[in-house]
C-alpha cells in the first residue's frame, strides 16, 4: 500500500532545500600567526611543534623545530624566549613553558642520537663561512641542506662562538652544545679552527660565496679612570679564558664588582660567584627596570646573592676599591646625569661588561665592505655586503646580540645566498594576520597554571637536570591555545545547527555552503580563533 499523500514523508528529503541561500555572511577557516611564532627571532613554528608535543610525537616535534633552528637543546637553555612573553595564555593563567619544552625535546633528540639527513653536494658550489658561532653554524646547516658545499673558518680553538664563549656552562653544558654542533658538522661541513682570516677577498677566491659571521668580540672600553694596581678584566675575556685556558684566569679576589647591565654582566657576575668570589656586586647606571639583561637571569642572579647597585657609574678604579658617582635618571626623557653625590665600594677586582663591538681587523683589506656609524657591517636587504657574493650576519651586523637572533640571521643568510647563487630574489614569507587574545574563546580552556621547574640548586657550573619528563612535556604543551590554528576540536562541526560542516574520516573539516545559514556559531565557539566570518559573495 502506498504511503498517505503528504502527511507521511521519507527521511531526509529536506536535503534538497539548500538553506545556504539564507546567508549573508559566511564562515571560513583561517590560519593566523600565533604571537609565539610571530616573535621568535629564529622563526620557529612553535605552535606547530607544541601541537605535535601534545600528541607525544616528540620526534616529529623535533623535526619541526630543526626546520628553523638546528639547536633545540641549546636554545631551550639560552634563548630568552620572547615567545613566552607574548604567549596569549599569559593573559589567562600563565604563558606556556615553551622554552623548557624545547629544551626537553632537544635533550630527547640528543639522548636518542637523532641526526640530520646528510645531503649530497648537488649544487656544485661552495660557500665559505667565516666564524663558527650560532649564526655561522646555522647558515652552514641550511646551506648543506640545500646541497651546497660548506667550509667554516673559526678563529677560536673550538666552534660555538658566543654559545661557547659568551654563555657560561651552568647555563649551557658543553656536551649539549657539542652534540648539537657535531650534528651539523656531521652533515659534511669542513671546519678549520684556530684560523684567523685576514684578507676576505683572497680567501673568497675558492668559493662561490662568503658569509661573514664573525660576531662581536671586541670589548667596549668604559671611559673611566683605572688606576694602576687595580685588578680589571673584560667580561668577554674572562669567559673565553675560562672556556679555553682556565689555568690562565687571573685571581679576582673575594670582592668583585661587575660593571654593566646586560646579560653579559649577569653571566660574568654569576660566573665569578662560581669561581669562588664571596661578594659580587653589579654596578649599573640606570634603574633596575632598565637593565637590558633578561628578567629570569636577573631574578636568578639576585636569588644567588648577587647585589645590583643601580644609578651608579664607576668613576675610578683604585686598588682595592672603586669610586662611584651617584646618578640621576630621568626615565621619561631618557636623560642620565650625574649628581653631586659619590660613593665607594671595596673591590678586589672589577669586571667590565659594558658592551662588545665588531673586530674590524679582518675587514681592512676589503674596501667594498663598509662599516655603519653603529660600528657594524653594512648589508643590503638580502644580507649582502658591498662586496659581491660576500654576505654578513649575526652579532657582526646587528644590535640584538642574542644566540636566537644569530640563528635567525644564519637561516636568512643561507636563504639569501641560495637565491644569489641561483640568480634569484629570495622568497618573501607572507605572514598571516596576528592571532590575538581576543580572537580566542577561552571558555574551552579550564584554568590550569603553568608548571615551572626550579632552576636553583647548588651554585656551581653543573647544570641541574631540569628537563621535563615525557608526560610533563605533553601536559605543558597541552596548555597551548593553538592560537589561530585549528586543533581539530570539532566545535564548529558539533555546534552547527544546520550540519553545514562536513567532517571527513581523517578529521579534516569543510564548510558545506549548500546549507550554511551563516549564523556564526562555529566562529564564536572556535576556541582558537581559526575561523572568521566574511561577507558572502
Amino acid at each position: 500500500m502506498n504511503k498517505p499523500f503528504a502527511t507521511v514523508l521519507d527521511s531526509a528529503t529536506s536535503l534538497k532545500n539548500k538553506t545556504g541561500s539564507w546567508r549573508t555572511m559566511r564562515p571560513e577557516y583561517v590560519t593566523m600567526l600565533p604571537p609565539c611564532n610571530a616573535t621568535c627571532p629564529a622563526g620557529e613554528n612553535i605552535q606547530q611543534w607544541l601541537s605535535l608535543a601534545q600528541e607525544g610525537k616528540f620526534r616529529e616535534a623535533w623535526e619541526v623545530m630543526v626546520k628553523d633552528n638546528p639547536f633545540p637543546a641549546t636554545m631551550g637553555r639560552v634563548c630568552y624566549h620572547t615567545c613566552e612573553r607574548v604567549c596569549n595564555r599569559d593573559q589567562f593563567d600563565g604563558a606556556v613553558n615553551i622554552n623548557l619544552i624545547e629544551r626537553s625535546i632537544g635533550d630527547i633528540a640528543i639522548a636518542n642520537g637523532w641526526q640530520f639527513e646528510s645531503v649530497p653536494e648537488t649544487k656544485n658550489k661552495k660557500i665559505l663561512i667565516i666564524g663558527g658561532g650560532p649564526s655561522g653554524l646555522t647558515a652552514a646547516y641550511f646551506l648543506r641542506k640545500l646541497g651546497y658545499g660548506v667550509a667554516i673558518y673559526e678563529s677560536h680553538i673550538k666552534l660555538g662562538g658566543m654559545m661557547r664563549y659568551g654563555v657560561p656552562r651552568y647555563r649551557l653544558p658543553g656536551d649539549v652544545m657539542d652534540s648539537e654542533i657535531r650534528r651539523i658538522i656531521d652533515m659534511g661541513v669542513s671546519v678549520v679552527c684556530n684560523r684567523m682570516v685576514s684578507d676576505i677577498k683572497t680567501e673568497a677566491r675558492d668559493f662561490d660565496a662568503v658569509y661573514i659571521a664573525i660576531g662581536a668580540y671586541q670589548a667596549i672600553k668604559a671611559s673611566l679612570n683605572v688606576q694602576e694596581g687595580s685588578n680589571t678584566i673584560d667580561a668577554v675575556e674572562l669567559l673565553r679564558k675560562l672556556e679555553d685556558y682556565p689555568s690562565s684566569l687571573p685571581t679576582l679576589g673575594k670582592k668583585v664588582i661587575v660593571y654593566g647591565g646586560g646579560n653579559t654582566a649577569i653571566d660574568a657576575a654569576r660566573t665569578v660567584l662560581r669561581l669562588g668570589a664571596e661578594s659580587v656586586k653589579i654596578v649599573y647606571r640606570r634603574t633596575i627596570n632598565n637593565l637590558s639583561a633578561h628578567d629570569t637571569e636577573i631574578h636568578e642572579a639576585l636569588e644567588e646573592g648577587i647585589e645590583i647597585l643601580c644609578l651608579r657609574t664607576i668613576n675610578t678604579v683604585e686598588k682595592g676599591k672603586v669610586l662611584l658617582d651617584i646618578m640621576n635618571y630621568d626615565e621619561e626623557n631618557d636623560i642620565l646625569s650625574k649628581t653631586e653625590q659619590t660613593d665607594s665600594l671595596p673591590a678586589d677586582s672589577v669586571i667590565f661588561a659594558v658592551g662588545q663591538s665588531l673586530d674590524k681587523e679582518i675587514l681592512k683589506g676589503t674596501k667594498e665592505i663598509s662599516i655603519s656609524e653603529h660600528g657594524v657591517i653594512e648589508i643590503d636587504r638580502n644580507m649582502m655586503t658591498g662586496a659581491e657574493g660576500i654576505f654578513a650576519g649575526g652579532d657582526a651586523i646587528m644590535g640584538k646580540r642574542t644566540v636566537t637572533h644569530a640563528i635567525g640571521a644564519g637561516k636568512k643568510a643561507a636563504k639569501c645566498i641560495d637565491a644569489y647563487l641561483q640568480g634569484l630574489e629570495p622568497s618573501v614569507n607572507i605572514k598571516n594576520p596576528a592571532a590575538t587574545f581576543k580572537r580566542l574563546n577561552t571558555a574551552y580552556f579550564p584554568q590550569n597554571p603553568r608548571v615551572n621547574v626550579s632552576r636553583l640548586g647548588d651554585i656551581s657550573f653543573e647544570e641541574k637536570n631540569i628537563s621535563y619528563f615525557d608526560q610533563e612535556i605533553v601536559d605543558e604543551a597541552s596548555r597551548c591555545f593553538s592560537c589561530g590554528n585549528c586543533f581539530h576540536c570539532d566545535n564548529c562541526y558539533g555546534y552547527c545547527p544546520d550540519n553545514a560542516i562536513i567532517k571527513y574520516p581523517d578529521g579534516s573539516l569543510e564548510i558545506n555552503l549548500d546549507y550554511c545559514k551563516g549564523c556564526g556559531m562555529c566562529v564564536a565557539e572556535c576556541p582558537c580563533g581559526s575561523m572568521k566570518m566574511t561577507l558572502d559573495e
Binding site: 528529503t13 529536506s14 566545535n491 550540519n499
Partner: protein
C-alpha cells in the same frame, strides 16, 4: 587542547557530535532560524540516543518550532522514525507508541517524546503528568526556550521573571514577566517520583550526551529538560547561542543536575559563579533592566534566584571536599 570541546583530535568519538559518521538524526535543509539552539539540541540528543540504542529510537514531536521547521511537505529533515500529532499530546502519543512496541516485542526500540516548554509546561502538562503518573516507558525531552517562539514569543509557564515577551512587554512600572509566577517543570517531574529527571544545556554537549545515554535505557518515565537559547525570542546575535546558554549555567540561573526517584543525586558544579548580569545583559528581553531606567531591584531578585539555585543544588562545591 581541551576536554571541554566537542571533539578531541587525540581521542576518537569523545562525543556523538564529534563522530564524522554521526547519524544526523535531524539533517540539513531544515528551516530553523540561524543559530537555533533547539535545532542543535535536538540533533545532539537524538544522535546520542541513536548511538546508545544502535539506531533503535522513535520520536514523537509536539507542535512547535521544532516540528514546523523540520517537517513541511515535501521536505522532511528527520532520519529516524518521527511522528507529529498535536501540540498538547506528545507524551500520550509516545505512551501509545511505547505500548505498541511492547505489544510487538520491540521494547528495545526506545521512545522519545519531545516538545517545547509551551507544549509540555502548559498545554500538554496533563498528558505529560499522566505519562509520568503511569510511569510509561518514555523519555520526554523538553526544549526550554522560555516562551512560545513558534507563535511569536509570547509568555509561557517557563518564561523567567522580568523577561520581555510579546505578552509581557515592559511598560511604565511593569518590568516584564511577573516574579513568583511560572512553573519549574523539572521539579514537577521529580514530584511524580519517576526514575530519572535531569536538566542539561546545549552549551555542554558532553554532559547532555551522558544524560541522554543514561536516560534512554532506563525503564519507565524519564524527563530531560534542556535549556536552548533562541536568538530571535531572546534578542541576541545568532552566533551567541552557546555563549548565552553557557552564561545561564555559569551564573546559576539554569542549574544542571540529575535526580532519581524525586531526589537530586548529582549536580554539575560551577566553580566561580558569574553575576547574573553577565548572562542577562546580552539579551534584548532583559534590556529594560539595564541602561537609563535600570532596575537594581529586579537584578537583585534575579541574583537571589541564582543564589538560591546555587545553594539548593550545591553548585559551588565545598572546598573541603
Amino acid at each position: 587542547m581541551s576536554h571541554l570541546t566537542i571533539g578531541n583530535r587525540l581521542e576518537k568519538n569523545v562525543t556523538a557530535q564529534s563522530m564524522y559518521d554521526r547519524s544526523n538524526s535531524l539533517t540539513s535543509g531544515h528551516r530553523a532560524c540561524q543559530g537555533c539552539g533547539e535545532a542543535l539540541a535536538a540533533r545532539c540528543i537524538l544522535d546520542a540516543a541513536y548511538i546508545a540504542t544502535d539506531g533503535k529510537v522513535a520520536v514523537i514531536n509536539a507542535t512547535g518550532c521544532l516540528e514546523v521547521f523540520s517537517c513541511v511537505y515535501p521536505e522532511n529533515s528527520w532520519q529516524i522514525p518521527w511522528l507529529h500529532s498535536l501540540f498538547g499530546n506528545a507524551p500520550a502519543v509516545a505512551t501509545g507508541v511505547a505500548a505498541a512496541f511492547k505489544r510487538q516485542g520491540k521494547e528495545n526500540v526506545r521512545v522519545i517524546a519531545q516538545g517545547g516548554d509551551g507544549a509540555l509546561a502548559d498545554i500538554g502538562m496533563g498528558c505529560l503528568s499522566g505519562m509520568f503518573d503511569r510511569n510509561d516507558d518514555v523519555l520526554c525531552v523538553c526544549y526550554d526556550n522560555q516562551a512560545y517562539m513558534n507563535t511569536g514569543v509570547q509568555r509561557s509557564g517557563a518564561t523567567p521573571a522580568f523577561s520581555r515577551t510579546a505578552t509581557t512587554l515592559p511598560t511604565g512600572d511593569y518590568l516584564g514577566n511577573d516574579v513568583q509566577t511560572g512553573k519549574n517543570l523539572p521539579k514537577i517531574a521529580m514530584a511524580h517520583g519517576i526514575p530519572y529527571v535531569a536538566t542539561a544545556s546545549v552549551s555542554n554537549i558532553h554532559d547532555l550526551e551522558k544524560k541522554v545515554a543514561k536516560a534512554i535505557h532506563l525503564k519507565g518515565a524519564r524527563y530531560l529538560h534542556v535549556h536552548v537559547p533562541c536568538p530571535l525570542g531572546w534578542g541576541y546575535p545568532t552566533s551567541e547561542t552557546i555563549k548565552v546558554a553557557r552564561l545561564a549555567v555559569q551564573c546559576g540561573l539554569f542549574p544542571l543536575f540529575e535526580a532519581e526517584r524525586g531526589k537530586v543525586i548529582k549536580s554539575t558544579p560551577i566553580n566561580a559563579p558569574l553575576k547574573v548580569e553577565e548572562y542577562l545583559k546580552g539579551q534584548r528581553r532583559f534590556a529594560h533592566l539595564f541602561g537609563k531606567n535600570a532596575s537594581s531591584d529586579a537584578l537583585i531578585t534575579l541574583q537571589n534566584i541564582a543564589d538560591d539555585n546555587i545553594r539548593e543544588y550545591a553548585l559551588v562545591g565545598d572546598p573541603n571536599e
